[in-house]
C-alpha cells in the first residue's frame, strides 16, 4: 500500500542514481544463448512507480547473479529480462506479451496492483506465473494460488489492515480513533481494510475525514477532526498531504498523537513537518522477525553489491524472494516451463520441508531428495491456497525526540488472521 504519489524519498533517488551508474558502467552482457533460462521483471520503470523501480531491479539483479554464481538453474544460465510497464495497465499487457511471446520467460515478477490484476487471465492463458512483489490490492486476496498462475510475495492490504487494528487495540489499548485518509488508490485501500478490521475487532472510528489530493489547505478537515476531540488520529495519507495536515493541526493548537501508514514512514516526513509536531508518531512496518538470518544475509549481500542497505517498505526483499522461489521451483521440477513453476512454487516455499535461505542451499537439498521450505528475506514466504503470504513480524517504529524512527517493539504477527 505504498502511495505511488508520495513525495519520493531522497534515498530512493540516490538508489536510482546508483543503479543507473552501475547499469551504464557494466559491460554489455552477451546475448541469450540457447538454453538460457529467462526470468522477467515487469515493473514501472517509467510513470508513477519510476522512482521505486530501480531498487526492485537491483534486487532482481542480485538474485540472478547469485543464482548464476551458484551454477545456474538446472545447470543453465539465468538471464534477467527487465521490462517497463509504464506503471499502467496497458503497458503491463504489452510488456507481459513481449516477455512471454518474444523472450519466453518462465515467470513474470514484479507487476504492481493494477498491472497484475489486468494480467490475471493473461497468466492463465499463457501458462506463465505472474508474481507481484508490491501489490497490496484486495483483488488478489482470493484470486491466486497454484493453478491460477497468480502470486504475491508481499502482504495484502487486508492483512496490513488487521495488523494496524490488532496493534492499536492490543498493544496501544486504543479503542477509539479518528481516521484521516487521502483519496488515492493506495491510501484508500489501506484505510478501508483497516476500518473493516478495526470495527470487527471492537474498535470505534469516531470520525472519518477524506483529504482531496493536492490541496494546500486542509483547515476544514482539521476542524472536522477536532470536533470529535480524538486523542489519536490514524493517518493514511501521502507525504505532501500528510505534512500539510499535521502542520495545520499543530498551528491550530491540536496536540494529537498520530498513527501512520507506510507512506509517512520516512525521514523526509519528519524533516518537512518538524520534530516538535510529529514526535511520538508511530508506524508499524512488516518485517522479518528480528535478526532473521535470511534478512541479514540478503541485506549484507545487497549492501555489498550496491553500496547501500535495502529499505524496509521498498519491496526489495520481496522481489529478491520471488526470484529465488521461482528458481527453486524450476530446480524442483527439473523443467523451466511456466506450468512447472506454477505447480512447484507453493511447494518449495513451505511451510513443510527443510528450511533453506538461499538458492544454493535449496538446490543442494533438492538434489539430496529433500522437500524444502524457502525462508525468504522478507518473511517465511509460505504461499497459502490463494497465493498470498503472511508477514512474520511487525516492527513498531516511533519518531523519537531527535527525529529518527526507532523500533520500540517487534510483535509476532504470524498468527494474525489473514483478513
Amino acid at each position: 500500500m505504498i502511495n505511488r504519489f508520495a513525495t519520493i524519498s531522497r534515498r530512493a533517488l540516490l538508489g536510482g542514481a546508483t543503479a543507473l551508474a552501475l547499469g551504464s558502467a557494466a559491460p554489455p552482457a552477451s546475448f541469450a544463448q540457447e538454453g538460457d533460462i529467462k526470468l522477467g521483471l515487469l515493473i514501472g520503470l517509467t510513470g508513477d512507480m519510476g522512482p521505486w523501480a530501480p531498487a526492485l531491479n537491483n534486487a532482481a539483479i542480485l538474485a540472478v547473479e547469485e543464482i548464476n554464481a551458484a551454477g545456474g538453474i538446472l545447470g543453465r544460465k539465468v538471464q534477467l529480462v527487465t521490462e517497463d510497464n509504464n506503471s499502467a495497465v496497458a503497458g503491463a499487457v504489452r510488456g507481459a506479451t513481449k516477455l512471454v511471446s518474444v523472450d519466453a520467460v518462465s515467470a513474470i515478477i514484479g507487476p504492481e496492483s493494477d498491472p497484475i490484476v489486468a494480467l490475471r487471465s493473461f497468466a492463465k492463458d499463457n501458462k506463465v506465473p505472474v508474481i507481484s512483489t508490491s501489490a497490496g490490492t484486495e483483488a488478489l486476496d482470493k484470486a491466486g494460488g497454484t493453478g491460477t498462475y497468480i502470486y504475491r510475495t508481499n502482504a495484502s492490504d487486508s492483512f496490513l489492515g488487521v495488523v494496524h487494528a490488532k496493534l492499536l487495540l492490543d498493544e496501544m489499548g486504543q479503542k477509539e480513533i479518528a481516521l484521516v485518509v487521502e483519496n488515492l488508490e493506495g491510501t484508500m485501500s489501506g484505510a478501508n481494510t483497516f476500518r473493516k478490521a478495526y470495527e470487527r475487532l471492537g474498535g470505534k472510528i469516531v470520525k472519518e475525514v477524506v483529504l482531496a489530493p493536492g490541496q494546500s489547505s486542509y483547515q476544514a478537515e482539521v476542524r472536522a477532526v477536532a470536533d470529535t476531540d480524538p486523542d489519536m488520529v490514524f493517518l493514511a495519507v501521502g507525504q505532501t498531504a500528510g505534512v500539510n495536515f499535521v502542520k495545520q493541526a499543530y498551528q491550530r493548537g491540536y496536540d494529537w498523537k498520530y498513527w501512520v501508514t507506510a507512506e509517512l514512514q520516512s525521514p523526509d516526513f519528519v524533516n518537512a513537518a518538524g520534530v516538535e509536531i510529529v514526535q511520538g508518531t508511530i508506524n508499524p512496518v512488516s518485517s522479518q522477525v528480528e535478526n532473521a538470518e535470511s534478512w541479514e544475509r540478503f541485506s549484507a549481500a545487497y549492501e555489498a553489491r550496491f553500496g547501500e542497505k535495502p529499505e524496509p517498505g521498498f519491496y526489495q526483499a520481496e522481489t529478491y524472494d520471488a526470484f529465488i522461489a521461482v528458481a527453486l521451483a524450476i530446480e524442483a521440477a527439473g523443467d523451466a516451463s511456466g506450468e512447472a513453476v506454477d505447480a512447484n512454487l507453493t511447494k518449495v516455499s513451505g511451510p513443510d520441508g527443510k528450511k533453506v535461505i538461499s538458492f544454493e542451499e535449496g538446490r543442494e537439498a533438492l538434489k539430496a531428495g529433500e522437500d524444502i521450505d524457502y525462508e525468504g528475506a522478507s518473511g517465511s514466504l509460505d504461499f497459502d491456497e490463494f497465493g498470498n503470504v503472511t508477514i512474520p513480524a511487525t516492527r513498531m517504529l516511533q519518531i523519537t525526540e531527535d527525529g529518527s524512527w526507532q523500533t520500540i517493539k517487534v510483535i509476532d504477527s504470524s498468527n494474525f488472521p489473514a483478513n
Binding site: A19, G23, A29, P54
Partner: protein, 327 residues
C-alpha cells in the same frame, strides 16, 4: 518467430485502439475547427459506460452498485450513446467559447471526469477500479490464440471508424466543418451555423472515441481511473501531429508509428542491468525522433491533401457561360 508476431499483434491491437481515437480527434481537429484537449473524456466515459452496463454485480470487497450484466453489444451501443451525450453536455457551455478557451475548458472537463471516476465509488468502484471483465468471442479459440481474435476485432473497429470518419469528412457536412476550421466568418455567410455544426461534430467524435474506450476495456480487462488521465489526450495529439493533421492516413500512421516507436525499443535491451538506463533513454530517443520528424516534415508525415473531384471540361464550361450571356 511466432513469438515476435504475437507481440506485434498485441501492440498492433493497442495501436488500432489509439488509431480510432486519433481518427476521431482528426475529425474534430483536422477536418473540423475544434481544438479538443479533452478527448480522453469520451474514452473514459465509453469505457465506464460499457463496464457498468455489462459487468457482473460487485463482489464483497467492491463498492459499485450497478453491474447490469447486459450483453456486450448493448454495452457498445450504450457506450457510444454515453459518449455522444457527454459530448453534448460538455459542448453546451464550451462550444460558445473561442478556440483557445474551448481548449482549456475541455482539458478541465477531462480532469473533472477523472475526479468523478475516483470519487463516485458507488458507480465506478473508485480508485480500485473494476476488473476481471470479459472479452468478446473469448470461447471461439484456444486462449493463447485469443490475441489474434482481439486484434481482428480492433482492426474491424478501426476500419469502421476510418470509413465513417472519412465519409463524414468528405461529405457536404464535412466541407462545412472544414469551412468553419478555415474561416468561420466566411462560413457563416455560406449559411453554416458554427455552433450547431460544431456540436454535431463534437457529438460524433465523442461517440467514436467512446467506442474506442470499449476496445480499451477488452484489451485491459479492467477499468481504473488512472487509465483516463490527460496523458492519453496528449499521446493522441502527438500521434496526429506526427501523422499529419487533417489527413486520415496521417492519423492512422501516427497512431501506429508512435506505439511502435515506444515498443520496438524494448528490443534494444541487452541485459536486465541496462534496462533502467535504456528505459530513460527510450523516452529521450522518442522525443528526439519527434523533433526530427517535425523539423523535416512540419505538416506531419502525411500532410493534408487536396480533395479531388472529377471536374467538368473547362472549355465546355467557358462556352456554357458565354451561352448564358454571363461572360
Amino acid at each position: 518467430m511466432e513469438g515476435i508476431l504475437l507481440f506485434a499483434i498485441s501492440i498492433g491491437t493497442l495501436a488500432a485502439i489509439y488509431g480510432m481515437v486519433t481518427l476521431a480527434l482528426n475529425l474534430e481537429t483536422g477536418t473540423g475547427p475544434l481544438w479538443d484537449l479533452g478527448i480522453v473524456s469520451f474514452f473514459g466515459i465509453g469505457a465506464y459506460a460499457y463496464v457498468i452496463l455489462t459487468a457482473a454485480p460487485a463482489e464483497g470487497h467492491q463498492h459499485y452498485l450497478y453491474g447490469f450484466g447486459l450483453p456486450m453489444w448493448l454495452g457498445v451501443i450504450g457506450a457510444a450513446l454515453a459518449g455522444a451525450v457527454a459530448a453534448w453536455f460538455i459542448g453546451l457551455p464550451s462550444l460558445r467559447l473561442r478556440k483557445e478557451y474551448f481548449l482549456i475548458v475541455t482539458l478541465a472537463f477531462a480532469e473533472v471526469l477523472r475526479q468523478l471516476y475516483i470519487n463516485e465509488d458507488w458507480l465506478t468502484n473508485g480508485v480500485a477500479g473494476i476488473y476481471g471483465l470479459e472479452q468478446p468471442l473469448r470461447g471461439l479459440v484456444e486462449a493463447r490464440q485469443y490475441t489474434y481474435v482481439l486484434f481482428a476485432l480492433a482492426i474491424c473497429g478501426l476500419l469502421a471508424v476510418w470509413a465513417l470518419t472519412r465519409m463524414i469528412s468528405l461529405s457536404a457536412f464535412g466541407r462545412a466543418c472544414k469551412a468553419l476550421r478555415e474561416n468561420e466568418a466566411l462560413a457563416i455567410t455560406a449559411g453554416i451555423d458554427p455552433r450547431r455544426t460544431s456540436m454535431v461534430l463534437y457529438v460524433l467524435a465523442g461517440a467514436f472515441t467512446a467506442v474506442a474506450g470499449v476496445f480499451y476495456v477488452w484489451y485491459n480487462t479492467l477499468v481504473v481511473p488512472g487509465q483516463f488521465s490527460s496523458d492519453l489526450t496528449f499521446f493522441v495529439w502527438t500521434a496526429l501531429i506526427i501523422g499529419g493533421v487533417g489527413s486520415s492516413r496521417g492519423a492512422l500512421f501516427g497512431a501506429f508509428i508512435f506505439i511502435l516507436l515506444h515498443d520496438s525499443l524494448r528490443f534494444l535491451q541487452v541485459s536486465g542491468e541496462t534496462a533502467v538506463t535504456l528505459t530513460s533513454l527510450r523516452t529521450a530517443l522518442i522525443g528526439l525522433l519527434l523533433i526530427l520528424i517535425l523539423r523535416f516534415r512540419p505538416n506531419g508525415i502525411f500532410p493534408e491533401t487536396r480533395v479531388v473531384f472529377k471536374l467538368p471540361d473547362r472549355a465546355k464550361a467557358a462556352e456554357g457561360a458565354k451561352r448564358k450571356g454571363l461572360a
